[in-house]
C-alpha cells in the first residue's frame, strides 16, 4: 500500500476542517469557564449558529453576512443563558441543558426548508508565496479564512488571559467572585461578557460546520461536537495551547472513518463513528483520575451562582 503526498495533504486538510469547529467551540467555552460559568449549552448554540449562518449565506450569497448572523445567533442564545443563570440565578447545569434542547429544536424548525440545499462553501484563501511550498503550502496556506482565524483566536485568548489586565480580572472572577466583588470588580458584567464571547465562538463553530465542513444543513448536524468541546476544555486543563492540540487530536479521530476504507480497513461504519465518543470518555477518565493539575487550573468557582448582595 502506497501513500503519496497528495493523499497525505488530503488527510491533513480533512483533519483541519474537522478540528476547526472544535477549536472555536472549545476556546469560547474555555473563557466562559475561566470566568466561573459552566455553560453546557454549547451544542445548542452551535446548531443555532449553523442553521442561521447557512440560511443567511444562502439567501444573500454573502459568506460574511452568514458568519456574522451565526455569531449573533450564538450570542443571542448565550444571552438567554446569562440572563437566567446570572441575573435570575438559575442552576447553570439545568439552564445549559435547556439551551441545548431548545437549540436543537429551534434549529430543526428553522432549518426545515434548508434541507437538501447545496452551498458552495466558504472560499479558500491562498497566502501569497507560502501557498506554493509543496505539501506544506497546500496543507497550511490554502485554507479558508476561518481556519486561519481559529489559530489567531487561540493565540489571542492565550495572550489575553496571561498578559492583559482584563484577562487577569476574568481569571480572578472565576477564582473567587466574592473576593473580586469585595475589591469592586463587576462580577456579573465580567461573566455576562465571557458568556457572550462563548456564545459567539459556538456560533462561529456552527457556521464552520454548515458553511465549510459539510457544507450543507442537516438536523442535529453537530452530532455531539458541542459536548466534545466541553470535554476538550477539561482535557486541556483550561490551557489554550493544550486545547488546540486536543482539538486536532479529536479532529484526527473524527475523520478516521472517512479514510479507513481507503487504507483497506473493513470495519462497520458505526464502530468507526463511535470512536470520537469513546475517545472523549477515555480522555476524560485519563485527565480526571490524575487530579492535581486539573484541580490547580480549574476555576475554583465554576458552576456556582454568585449573589452580590452577600
Amino acid at each position: 500500500m502506497s501513500i503519496d503526498s497528495s493523499m497525505l495533504v488530503m488527510i491533513g486538510l480533512t483533519i483541519i476542517s474537522a478540528a476547526t469547529p472544535l477549536v472555536f467551540a472549545a476556546i469560547g467555552e474555555l473563557v466562559v469557564e475561566k470566568s466561573g460559568v459552566l455553560n453546557l449549552g454549547v451544542e445548542g448554540m452551535m446548531l443555532a449558529g449553523a442553521v442561521s449562518g447557512f440560511a443567511v449565506a444562502h439567501l444573500t450569497g454573502s459568506a460574511l453576512l452568514g458568519v456574522l448572523t451565526g455569531v449573533g445567533a450564538g450570542m443571542l442564545l448565550a444571552l438567554i443563558f446569562a440572563f437566567l443563570t446570572l441575573s435570575l440565578r438559575a442552576s447553570q447545569v439545568a439552564t445549559g441543558l435547556a439551551l441545548t434542547i431548545f437549540g436543537i429544536g429551534l434549529s430543526a424548525l428553522l432549518g426545515q426548508p434548508l434541507i437538501g440545499i447545496a452551498y458552495e462553501g466558504i472560499p479558500n484563501y491562498s497566502v501569497p508565496y507560502l501557498a506554493d511550498i509543496p505539501v506544506l503550502g497546500q496543507l497550511l496556506f490554502q485554507n479558508d479564512l476561518l481556519v486561519y482565524g481559529s489559530f489567531a483566536l487561540v493565540l489571542a485568548v492565550s495572550l489575553f488571559l496571561k498578559y492583559t489586565q482584563a484577562g487577569l480580572i476574568v481569571r480572578a472572577v472565576g477564582d473567587s467572585p466574592d473576593a473580586a466583588h469585595a475589591l469592586g470588580y463587576p462580577v456579573l458584567r465580567v461573566r455576562y461578557l465571557a458568556t457572550l464571547f462563548g456564545g459567539a465562538c459556538a456560533g462561529l463553530a456552527g457556521c464552520y460546520l454548515s458553511m465549510a465542513y459539510a457544507p450543507m444543513w442537516a438536523e442535529s448536524m453537530s452530532a455531539g461536537r458541542g459536548w466534545i468541546a466541553l470535554a476538550l476544555v477539561v482535557f486541556a486543563t483550561w490551557r489554550p495551547g493544550r486545547l488546540l492540540f486536543g482539538a486536532y487530536f479529536f479532529g484526527g479521530i473524527t475523520i478516521l472513518q472517512l479514510h479507513a476504507q481507503a487504507f483497506g480497513i473493513i470495519v462497520p461504519s458505526q464502530l468507526m463513528s463511535m470512536l470520537p465518543y469513546i475517545a472523549t470518555i477515555a480522555v476524560l477518565v485519563l485527565i480526571s483520575s490524575t487530579g492535581s493539575s486539573l484541580r490547580r487550573n480549574a476555576p475554583a468557582s465554576i458552576g456556582q451562582a454568585f449573589h452580590p448582595t452577600k
Binding site: 440565578r89 442552576s91 435547556a98 431548545f102 429544536g105 429551534l106 452530532a223 463511535m274 465518543y277
Partner: protein, 366 residues
Amino acid sequence: MIRLQPRAEPSKLMGYIAPLIALVITLLSGMVLFALLGVPVGAAFYAFFIEPVSSLYGLSELGVKAAPLIMIAVALSIGYRANVWNIGAEGQLILGGICGGAVALYFYEVDAWYVLPLMMLAGVIGGMLWAAIPALLRTQFNANEILTSLMLTYIAGLLLSLLVHGPLRDPDGFNFPESRLLHDAATLPIIMQGTRLHIGALTALFIVVIGWVLLSRTMLGFALKVNGQAPNAGRYAGFTQNRLIWFSLLFCGACAGLAGLNEVAGPIGQLLPSISPGYGFTAIIVAFLGRLHPVGVVFAGLVMALSYLGGESAQISLNLPVAVTGVFQGMLLFFLLAADVLINYRVVWGRARTARRPSSEHGASL
C-alpha cells in the same frame, strides 16, 4: 426598575405556582411563534392541545407517551436531588431496548409465559449496565458523569444501528435495517381494547410509588437528598457518597432500560434504528417541571406527552415540522427556570430604600 429581594425562607407556594406560570408563558410564546411562522394561531392551538386528547384513543396515546417519560423522570429526579447529573437516560433506554429485544428474538416464536419476564429482566439489566459505566468512571476516576453519560448515548445509538443493520436484522426483511416483528408472547399485553395502552403504563405508576416512598420515607432517600444539598454534611452523618452515586445511576438505568423494553415490546413491536423520540432527554425536562418530586412528575409527564402528540397532530393537519415539539420543550424549561426565581426572591418594583423593622418582616413570606 425591577429588583429581586431575597425571601427569609423559600416560598412553598411559589414552588407550585412557578410551573403553572411557565406553562402559561410557554403557551403565549407558542402562539407568537405560530403567528411568526404564518400559521393560523387558533388552528395551531387546536391541533396542538385539543385535538390529540379529544378522543378516548387520543387519551390512551397520552398514556403510551407519558409512561416512559414518567418512569425515567422519577429516576432522574432521585439522581438530580443527589447531585448526580445523569443525562444519558436516552442511551440507557436504548440499551434496555436492545437487550430486551435481543432476548425476544432469541426466543422467537417460543410461546411461553417466561419470555416476557425474561425480556423485562434483560431490559432492566441492559439499562443498568449502560448506567454502570458512568457510575464506575465517576466513583473510580472522578470523571464527570454529565459528559460520560451523554457520550454513551451517542454510542448506544450507533450500537443499535449496527445491530439492526447486522446481527439482529430480519433475515426475510429485504435488507431493511429492522428486526423481525416480535411474536405475540413477546409483546406487552394491552390493558384497554382498541388502543395501544399497554401494561407499561402500570409499571410507570409502580415506579412513581416506589420513588415517592424512597424519597419521603427511607434512609436511602434522605441520604440522597443530604448528599445533593451538602455533600460534606452527608459525609459527616456517615453516608457513603460513592454508594449513593452508584444507586442513583443504576436505578435510573433500570427504569430507563425498562422503558426502552416497553417501547420495543409495546408500541413498536420490533427493533428499529431509532426506538425513542428522545424520551430520555425530554424526561430531564419532565423531572424539573415536576419539581423533582414523583407525584409532580406524573403531571409533568402528561404535559410533555401532550407536546409529543400535539407535534404529531400539527404535522399532519398543518404540515408543521415535528421539531416544533423540541422548541416548545426548550422554552418551557427556560420559563420554568426563570419562574423559579420567585421561590427564593420576591420581585420588587422601584427602588426600595425604606428601612424595615425586624418585627414587620418576620413570617411574612407569602
